[in-house]
């Protein structure tokens, strides 16, 4: 008899706390307790006032407990017809087992169940804790998802703002590029008019002047083409080379840099390895970095204004450095230069988006890296992008 009691105790005890999911955990308890002790039905009510059990196995036998106060005793025994009912109140709900013709052993069974009460309560608390944690986790996932969505929206907005800024800067660059040829055209036209007024105009000289005007007009036209190409959206990666990127960049900004007496030194200019990339986006990055260098020189009124651009192939990557002699970036703000809306150029209406957008372009679109460090003379931006041999899109 002792072995049988130990057996049932062990088997019932072993069924407690085997799952972190409440329904599954309590289901195993109800099934094991019922079957091992020969209950006709077993049920678990999650709350004292629940009308329906969360778990029920066996026969459906009505026995209403709403008239009883189940809060004082370890367990309750009831009798109805030939049935014996054991109720085990738990911290919140209760377990109920109904037996048939078990008058002799019912007291022992109820005592045994009562011994397991604390372990059952702890297991229920553990399940509830896990459930709360899961809900919290779900909520956290929702919040992260919303935040990511918000970040994406912000990025879109930033890109849009960045484009507007670039447009503004471009107009300034176009103005620089056009100023000299327009001045030349004006001067040639005035000279022709002056000669006509003096009656000294000769056909050969007129033709030379018109040719000069045409040359300047072609230069203007080329400038327009360069800018238009730049503003074309790169939908797919194009085959290009470092040289082409550099020429595309300089065709837009060189006049502006020259106007500020900034010398451009290009090393490895002959690097013409072909690769696939988003050409105009890479040009935008170069323009941002060169534009920042120009602004840095303006702020510091330096005499020796040099920007050195070097390119080299390293394995399957193109490694480009853009190094200026503008004194470098203060250590305190070095970590922030790639953050959105961070700018040191408040007086010049800096938006603080240029380097942020450059970082996004290089690292997310071109799958490369963009970093900045200080050298002895100034700042050095390093761009590394893959030399893709094929367009995989």
């Amino acid at each position: 008899m002792l072995l049988q009691q130990l057996t049932i105790s062990y088997e019932c005890l072993s069924s407690i706390g085997n799952s972190i999911e409440l329904e599954s955990m309590m289901s195993e308890i109800v099934i094991t307790f019922s079957r091992k002790t020969g209950a006709v039905t077993g049920s678990y009510y999650h709350h004292r006032n629940d009308a329906e059990p969360l778990i029920r196995i066996g026969k459906t036998i009505a026995f209403n407990l709403s008239d009883y106060n189940l809060s004082t005793q370890e367990y309750y025994l009831f009798t109805k017809d030939d049935k014996q009912i054991v109720v085990l109140p738990l911290k919140h709900g209760y377990l109920k087992f109904i037996y048939k013709d078990k008058e002799e052993s019912i007291q022992k069974l109820a005592s045994m169940f009562a011994n397991f009460k604390q372990k059952i309560n702890l297991s229920i608390a553990a399940c509830n804790g896990v459930k709360q944690l899961e809900e919290l986790n779900d909520d956290l996932e929702d919040r992260v998802e919303k935040s990511v969505k918000q970040i994406r929206e912000n990025e879109k907005m930033l890109i849009s703002q960045s484009k507007q800024v670039v447009m503004g800067e471009m107009i300034e660059m176009i103005a620089h590029q056009w100023r000299q040829p327009i001045t030349s055209i004006g001067m040639i036209a005035n000279n022709v008019l002056f000669d006509m007024a003096l009656g000294e105009i000769k056909e050969t000289e007129l033709k030379i002047s018109i040719d000069k005007i045409n040359t300047q007009v072609m230069h203007l036209s080329k400038t327009i083409d360069d800018f238009r190409d730049f503003f074309k959206e790169s939908k797919t990666e194009q085959i290009t080379s470092f040289l082409e990127i550099l020429e595309g960049t300089m065709s837009i900004i060189d006049k502006q840099l020259q106007g500020h007496n900034i010398e451009i030194i290009v090393l490895n200019k002959s690097l013409n390895t072909s690769f696939y990339t988003y050409k105009n986006e890479l040009i935008q990055v170069f323009l941002n970095i060169l534009g920042n260098a120009k602004d840095a020189f303006d702020d510091k009124h330096l005499k020796n204004k040099q920007i050195t651009i070097a390119a080299v192939s390293k394995g399957k990557n193109l490694h480009v450095t853009i190094q200026d002699t503008a004194g470098g970036i203060e250590t305190e703000i070095m970590q922030k230069v790639f953050e959105p809306y961070f700018s040191t150029k408040m007086k010049k209406n800096g938006t603080g988006l240029g380097l942020y957008m450059s970082k996004i372009i290089v690292e997310e679109h071109l799958h490369g890296t963009l970093t900045v460090t200080n050298t002895t003379d100034g700042a050095m931006f390093e761009i590394t992008i893959p030399l893709k041999e094929r367009n995989y899109e």
């Binding site: 008899m1 072995l3 049988q4 009691q5 130990l6 057996t7 049932i8 062990y10 088997e11 072993s14 069924s15 094991t32 079957r35 091992k36 002790t37 020969g38 209950a39 006709v40 196995i57 066996g58 026969k59 048939k100 013709d101 078990k102 052993s105």
Partner: protein, 353 residues
Amino acid sequence: MKSSYFHSVAEFLQSSQSIDGIKLLLIAEKCHFHHSMIQSLHMQCYGAIFPEVIYKNKHYDDGLIVLELEQKPLCVENIDNEIDANINLLGISSMIVFVDGLSAHIDSFLFSIFESIDEDCILFGGGAGKLTLQQEKVIFTPDAIYKDAALIIPLTQKLQVGVHHGWEYLDGPFIATSTQDNLLKKINYADAYDIYKEIVQKDSGLNFNNNNFFDIAKSYPLGIVTMDGEVIVRDPILTQDGALLLVGVMPENSIINILKGKKENLIQAAKNAAEDAYEETTNAELIFMVDCISRALFLESSFTQEIEAVKERVGNVEVLGVLTLGEIANNSKAYINFYNKTCVVGAICSYNS
């Protein structure tokens, strides 16, 4: 309940005066039977295939027993599914249940049956199948033959059931520390087969090899200890990667013993089962034995003594039955048990006593 034994299906079909009436066919494994034989004749035949059948004082591995039924049996075509809502078991006070004895879903099916029947409903039955121990289609209706199925035969008569096995404690207790349905993987955290083999080889003086597992294991079943002192026997039939494959489920953390048998005790157990089922005061029409095939294999030629022991107790009442892969019975007070190596005797009694 009129019954007959035929040596073959052909003999049964030739003897049938008409195709009318509902019949229960209990077919022995070696009997030549194709379901198309009854399907093509549109006969209302329901039934199952068993390793052997018992008729009067003999047991047969060939031939069939035919019983005339008053009510149409209900077939659960796939016992892994919930019982069809169209199958209403309420209002039935007694029934016989045959189930695919090698199905992995017997336990859950019997649980569903328990939930679906009246509180006072008495039932008994057993597992159909063949001694090849390969799961096949063994449960049939007039329309089809199924595996993983069950046949519920409602009775209009009163039923009294006796259950005994006669196996005795050899060693234990052990804990079934890892199980999966009817696979016993670990005993006391070690490979179940290793523990079982050591004890059985020591007691029997025989050694297991690749081909003789069931020959030795048939004499050494496992027993699950229950609260009221009853031991539910589980028959190990095969080994599988260090685990023991049983007929019937073994819940994890069950406390088990290894059992062994004496022929005289098993025969006495059958007599006790008949004693529990049969009361002279009641008007028994028929005694239906559901006896495990492995008892017959263990008892060998002495098995007829087991039938005689039952017959002796019930006098002139006709005795028939089946040798099964697992036995089913309930006492209406708790769950329906699926036994192994057990003798279940059902006394089908007229209400007019």
